[in-house]
Symmetry: C2
Subunit: 366 residues, 2 copies
C-alpha cells in the first residue's frame, strides 16, 4: 500500500514488549527520530490506537541497535521510552527487560557469529554506558525453555551480565563512603544503605519503618501515609548521595527505594521496591543488580539480612523469585540476571500519507 515502510521486529523481552529497529530504519529525511517513533507508536493518544504502541509503559518501548565499531563491543543499543499521552520520547535510562532481546536480534542479523553451545554478545547500552554481556543458548536444542515471574508462557532464557555496574550514576558504589547512613526526615531518622550499582538505591530494613516486608503491593499502594514516609526516606537518601540539593528536588524515578526483610523459605532475601511513587509488582532488573551488589558488600543492611548460597542470590519479590549471580566478565566484577524472551513478529510498519506531522512547504519540497 502507499506510505513509507519501516522494518521492525516485535520481541517480548522479560516482562516488556519491545519494538526493535536497525538504527538507520528510523532515519527519515526531514524528521527527527523522536517524531518518527511517536508517529509509529500512535502517540500522543492514551490508547495508541493508530500505531503499534500498547497503551502502557511496558508496551511502548523501542530498542534501536547497530553493529558497534568499538573493540570489545558487538552491538550499540539505545533504549527509548515512547510517551503515550504526551508526545515525548525519554532517552534517560535503559530497560533491563528490553536489553534481553538484543543478543538474539544481533545473531539473526548476522552481526555476531554463533558458537557452541553458547554465544556471548557484548552489548553497550548508550543511554547509561553500561556494558551488558548476553549469554545465549546456541546449542541448537530449542526445547530448553524457562519461565520467569510475570510471564505466563515459557521462553528462551538469556543470561545478562551487567559488567562493572557500580557507580554509573554517582561515580561510587557507596556514594557516602559508608555502608550505613542515618537519614533525617520530617518523620524522624531512618537508617539506610545508600548504594549505586545498576541503579542508585536507598535500602532500608522493613521492620525499621513498621513493616513486615511481605506486604502485598496493592495494599501498600492504598496506604498514602506509609508511601509518603517511605518517599521522604528516599528523598533524604537522594540528597545524601549528592543526587539532589534538597529532598523536594529529588527525581521521582531515582534513586529507588528498596525495602528488605528476612527471606521466606526457598529464597535468600525478600524485597519490596518503590519506584515512581508506587510499589513495583516484582523488581526492576536494575534494582536486582543493586540488591546483589548490596548483599555482596559486607556491612550493608542487605548483607546483614541475606543468606545467599555461594554466588547465587534468590530474591523473593511480590511476583516470585528473581535469581541473580555474582561473578565476573574478563576479570571485571559482573552481576547476572536471567530473563526469557521471544520474537513475536517480523514486521514492516507502515507510515501512511498523513503519518507524520505536517511541515512548512519549504521543508517537505518533493
Amino acid at each position: 500500500m502507499h506510505g513509507r515502510e519501516i522494518k521492525a521486529t516485535w520481541m517480548r523481552g522479560g516482562t516488556s514488549k519491545c519494538w526493535v529497529f536497525d538504527r538507520e530504519e528510523l532515519e527519515l529525511p526531514d524528521y527527527t527520530v523522536d517524531e518518527v517513533l511517536l508517529r509509529l507508536f500512535g502517540s500522543p493518544d492514551p490508547r495508541q490506537v493508530d500505531g503499534v504502541g500498547g497503551g502502557t509503559s511496558t508496551t511502548s518501548k523501542a530498542v534501536i541497535v547497530s553493529p558497534s565499531s568499538d573493540e570489545g563491543v558487538d552491538v550499540d543499543y539505545t533504549f527509548a521510552q515512547v510517551g503515550i499521552e504526551e508526545p515525548v520520547v525519554d532517552w534517560g535510562s535503559n530497560c533491563g527487560n528490553c536489553s534481553s532481546v538484543v543478543g538474539h536480534y544481533a545473531l539473526r542479523r548476522g552481526w555476531v557469529t554463533p558458537t557452541t553451545p553458547t554465544t556471548s554478545v557484548r552489548v553497550r547500552n548508550t543511554n547509561t554506558g553500561q556494558l551488558i554481556v548476553l549469554e545465549l543458548d546456541t546449542s541448537g536444542d530449542d526445547t530448553v525453555l524457562s519461565e520467569i515471574p510475570g510471564v505466563p508462557f515459557p521462553g528462551e532464557a538469556v543470561r545478562m551480565w551487567f559488567v562493572e555496574p557500580a557507580g554509573r550514576t554517582t561515580g561510587e558504589l557507596l556514594p557516602t563512603g559508608r555502608t550505613r547512613d542515618e537519614l533525617t526526615t520530617p518523620h524522624g531518622t531512618a537508617e539506610a544503605t545508600l548504594l549505586d550499582a545498576g541503579a542508585p538505591v536507598v535500602v532500608i530494613d522493613a521492620r525499621s519503618v513498621g513493616l513486615t516486608g511481605d506486604e502485598v503491593p496493592a495494599v501498600l499502594d492504598a496506604d498514602p501515609e506509609t508511601l509518603l514516609r517511605l518517599d521522604e526516606i528516599r528523598r533524604a537518601g537522594a540528597v545524601a548521595m549528592g543526587m539532589a540539593a534538597t529532598p523536594a528536588g529529588a527525581e521521582r524515578a531515582v534513586p529507588k527505594l528498596v525495602v528488605v526483610s528476612p527471606a521466606p523459605e526457598g529464597s535468600d532475601l525478600r524485597v519490596r521496591m518503590l519506584s515512581m511513587g508506587k510499589v513495583h509488582p516484582a523488581l526492576a532488573i536494575t534494582g536486582s543488580v543493586a540488591v546483589t551488589m548490596a548483599v555482596a558488600t559486607p556491612g550493608t543492611i542487605a548483607a546483614d539480612l541475606a543468606a545467599p548460597h555461594g554466588d547465587r542470590l534468590r530474591i523473593s519479590t511480590p511476583a516470585g523469585i528473581v535469581e541473580t549471580v555474582l561473578g565476573e566478565h574478563a576479570g571485571r566484577p559482573a552481576v547476572a540476571v536471567t530473563r526469557t524472551m521471544r520474537e513475536l513478529a517480523d514486521t514492516r510498519l507502515v507510515i501512511g500519507p498523513a503519518a507524520l506531522p505536517a511541515r512548512p512547504a519549504e521543508a517537505v519540497a518533493s
Copy 2:
C-alpha cells in the same frame, strides 16, 4: 528463527485494532483455530505480554478472510473476539469497526479488481449473515483523509453499507409488532421502542428516566442506582423481544440500551448507549445502524425526537458526531456508516517451540 510463521496484517479499523489473517494461515495440523488464535494473542494473560493482543477488548480482535465462492459476495469474513484473561474465543457477533478493513485487504490481495474513482467490495460477515458493501476511494488521490471520533489521527475513509439489516437476530424489525411498548420493571413501567436492525436495541427517552441525555459516560458509570434501573429496562425489553425467558436470563451484550434525547446544535439526535453494563464511550457501529432504522420508522421514540436532514443522520455521541446515511444497495434497503482505517504493519507472526499447548505424544508424532 525457529518456530512456525503465520502471515498477518495489523490494521486499525475505526476505533479498533484488528489482526487480519487469510483463513488458511490459521489452519495448523493438530490444533484448532481457537488454540492458534489464543496462543498468537498471548492469552490467557491480562497483559497478553507474550503475544500480539493488546490487553483490551478493542485490541484483541481477529479478522479471518477468504475469497467467497458465492455469487454476489466477494469476501467471506469471520470476526473473532479473542479472550484476554480467559482462554476463550467468542464467535457470536461481528465488530463493525474491524469490518472496515476487509475491503482494503481484499484489494491488496487481488481478490477484487479496483475501479475508478471508487470500488465496492461485497463482504459477507459469517458470524451474523450480514452483507456489508464497502465503498473505497480508489481514485489514486491518497491525500483525501478523514477523521472520526476516538481516533486522534486521520485515515482513509471507508463507507460501509449494511444491507437489509432488519431482523437478523429476531426475524423482525419490530419484534413485538409495535413501535412502542410498555415494559414492567421492579422500579415501575417504562416506555420503549424495541427494534432489531444491526443489533437488537431497547430505545428509551432520556427524560422518561429522569436523565437529560447529555450525561458524561464516566458520571453515569459512577451511578450504580441509575445503571441498575436502566439495565432492568433493558432486560424487560429482552423478554418482550423474545430474546430471553426471564429478565435474569437476558444476555449482557444484547439487546443494547439506547437512551435518546433532543439533538444539540449541529446534530439530529443525541444518544447514550449502554453495553455490557457500562456507558459506551461513543456508539457501536451496529448501534448506529439500529438508531438510523429507528429514526426511519415513524412512531418510534427515536423518530419522534430526531430531526434528520434528508437521508443523512447526524448522531451526537459522547465522543462526537457519528453520521449515517439511509439508502439502498441493489434495490434493498441499506444503512451506511463511515469509518477510517489504515494498515499498521505487514507481519509474519512467530509461534515458537513452546507456543502451543502440549499434546499427548500420539497426537504430535513427528
